[in-house]
Point group: D2
Chain length 284, copies 4
């Protein structure tokens, strides 16, 4: 009478209508190659902050990486295959971190938070991957007088403004050198899903890694310049579920800006290589 | 160095900024009484369908209730406390079901899917409660020539139209009789959260119950009338993650409409009474 | 071959598809009674400012009324007949003024600006009536802890916040007294439409009056309380066509608040009684 | 006391806050060169229809051009200077027409209607230029499997779908040949602004021309392919001010598709060369 679950298929609530389609499963179970698409513009601004401020944001098992540098990345994606060609935008904040895994230290960028302007990838990213995704309005960047301006709002409250200018294009050799210089295993996350009816208890709680390699991604151009950013202090009334996120980021000291980049890339991956990290004591 | 989790506090990704605020936890850990708010307008249309079509939508452990009646409820909420007075809208589809629990059969309304037009309650509802919530644009209902029209869209594709008319107000006694006639333990759900990196495996998979009682809810008025609805067939390109939901509902035979209601209510609950249902063999 | 214009029908660009439908003309040329609809919630906050600041905002032929009081009104309308039951919201700023017409002084409220969150009534209001309407995002008001909060944004820039509290309901007699105490001929406007290709020249430039009477409007409830408001300074980059409006209102001295009201009304009019005011020298 | 109008400055309602900023006037009265910006993607689909259907859409003084071909153009603009770097989108429908002016026939493309997804250029375009602009939601085009899909909605009702595929890039020489082959004086319009309080009477009613030349526009790439489109029939309830526009376009016979193009251009003009056309008997 009732349906049953196919043992190797991907499901997501509601499970009642069959296996789920999404980034890692298309209609009829096909996968998405992420070759030639999506087309992404990524804007980054970095700044040096205080080690003790950043360490306090790391979950158990993690320690701060070499230098207390915060990187804010605003990404604008088009032609996403699993959305039948639609796009969406992202705003992520990362800091360098090391995770002490069962098999030794894993060095990477720890994703503190990732805002997205579409609910679908927020759900799939949280549940299937362990990304700390939440919602924001992320309008297209505005280019004016050779400066690029990005903003993020929640229900009309502008919580971030970011500007980049004095951009100088990098040569193909410079881009290649920059890409290959990255010393990282990938992006680190902390997946947490609460147990129903039991505040303080989790059903899922472990570290996760997005491996660095994205073989199908091609950087078609990159420029380097100067950038600044400002997180605006919010009241609970302004952002009832996110004010503490924004205020913590607002409170980070900006000791020195560390440059900005604007990159255009083509291609990506479906993130099916996302992996749970084991601690010396068991699942992370 | 790194932060630690408070043992009795509620967390949600990102966990790095302290305990989470949301429906069941306000700033400073206070709770929301949900008395006098929210203010809700709820519109329902029911129809008789085929038992075999509905049974096929029930997960393991569930069987169809007495009569194969589908109820579609569009709710428009204002003055929600945990959103600092904002509102949002919902569109739910339920069928009668019985869950065979460890302690005997539990009769209720099974929630097949619940669309909401705000990401925040979608995240909290899925992860903390096990509601099968997904996103849709749910514009305010339109009242015209004594008919009330509700619609639901996803990225410009209108997948549901629902109309209610010939409304006759119920007396206070009739409302009380109708409320007390409900024979149900509450709303039944099936919580499912996939394991990262392991398609086909779940970290969380069990039945859940929202108990019926909402002591703080007062029905301020209710009318009964006739209603019709239409789910529109979607292509994968129209709704890449929801086409199968909409098409399954579109395919349900409408043997007979079973009336419509429009109710105005005040008050609610924070759903902290949500509970996991145990099967005879262990967690549901 | 080409079409011709019906001599008594209402047209609006594009004129090529026949007479226009809108607030003053429905399908088949029928009119809208505006009885029982729309349903409106109107929130006002008033403050005493400086006469010289307000006089400087009046066009030729107008002088300031008795007291330099600015009234900001946020209106939230539902069930608008000409929009087939949809609603939209408005935010208006008025000051008392007197127009020296051919037939003597006309006392009224001068509408400095009216923001609306829907393009259709902005077009019809500007072209057919001479209302100074421009666009803004006007989210539903938020009620929280017995206070009502209204906001207005343009492309994510919040240019107005307005709050009302300590509300005391008025009795039916008090409402009637308040309504009948209004000493005004109605709302005064200044219609201006530029001539194509001739900067500085106008094709239409005259005063306009919306007569006070709205026979079909019923005030169903009204409360009086305290209110405050804040216009936020904008850069040209924030609001490229409206920064001077917002900054002028921001610069008005608030010498004293003069109370706030929240009213619920039913019914309206189609504004077909809008009339051009003649100056002693000809059209206003 | 009251303000006065500067004799050579551009004004727009509300006139009370000084000269207006917009496409043809920036802060401090400066003009916009429209060089290097905006960046535009323009998608066109053309089809052969019936001469008698198209002639019936032409206002007095106009006759149909050589061939009854309808061209629908969806344009997506970024980095618009007068909007401080923001963008907006347009959807226009043109047919070939000839206007009998005082100085002889003027051959051009007659703009039947232009939808835009931003109120500001709709107001300036209607009032300052005489463009038949109205509002629609115009989402970014979706590229999927080498096809490009454009859509237009009004309040959730999808009234147009347009697809282009089999695109073959044109060489620089082919682009230059195509651009120089255009035999037209520009875009023809019919400006109409009603008189307040006098249904059937207009204060402004004349033909207008946008001259063809756009010296600062550079076509950076162009491709030619096949395209189809579909206007969907609307009820008054679906689009209360536009249903007759959409239904008239829906009713046009599509005898044969005449190809499609996708072009990327840089640069534009501020349209300050817009000119009133005189009829043999006086203003158009």
């Amino acid at each position: 009478m009732s349906y049953h679950f196919e043992p190797t298929e991907l499901y997501r609530m509601p499970t009642h209508f069959g296996p789920a389609t999404g980034p890692r499963r298309g209609p009829d179970g096909r996968r998405f190659a992420c070759k030639d698409t999506p087309k992404t513009t990524a804007v980054t601004v970095s700044f040096l902050s205080r080690a003790e401020q950043l360490s306090a944001l790391l979950p158990p098992g993690f320690s701060l990486g070499v230098e207390p540098v915060v990187t804010v990345t605003a990404s604008y994606m088009k032609e996403i295959e699993w959305l039948a060609g639609r796009g969406y935008n992202m705003l992520g904040v990362t800091i360098p971190a090391v995770f002490q895994s069962k098999s030794g230290p894993i060095v990477g960028s720890f994703l503190l938070v990732l805002w997205e302007n579409l609910t679908e990838p927020i759900i799939t990213g949280r549940e299937e991957l362990g990304f700390s995704k939440v919602f924001a309005d992320l309008p297209e960047p505005v280019t004016h007088h050779d400066e690029l301006h990005c903003a993020a709002n929640w229900d009309g409250f502008r919580f971030l403004e970011l500007s980049v200018g004095q951009l100088q294009p990098l040569s193909a050799a410079q881009i290649a050198a920059k890409v290959s210089a990255v010393q990282s295993s990938g992006t680190l996350h902390y997946k947490y899903l609460p147990r129903t009816g039991a505040p303080g208890r989790a059903d899922v709680q472990h570290a996760v890694l997005t491996p660095l390699a994205v073989p199908n991604r091609v950087v078609t151009s990159m420029a380097r310049g100067q950038g600044t950013l400002q997180f605006h202090r919010a009241r609970w009334e302004d952002m009832p579920t996110q004010y503490m996120i924004v205020n913590t980021l607002h409170a980070l000291d900006v000791l020195e800006y560390r440059g900005a980049t604007v990159a255009h890339t083509v291609g990506g991956k479906d993130l099916s290589d996302q992996q749970i990290l084991l601690t010396p004591d068991g699942p992370g």
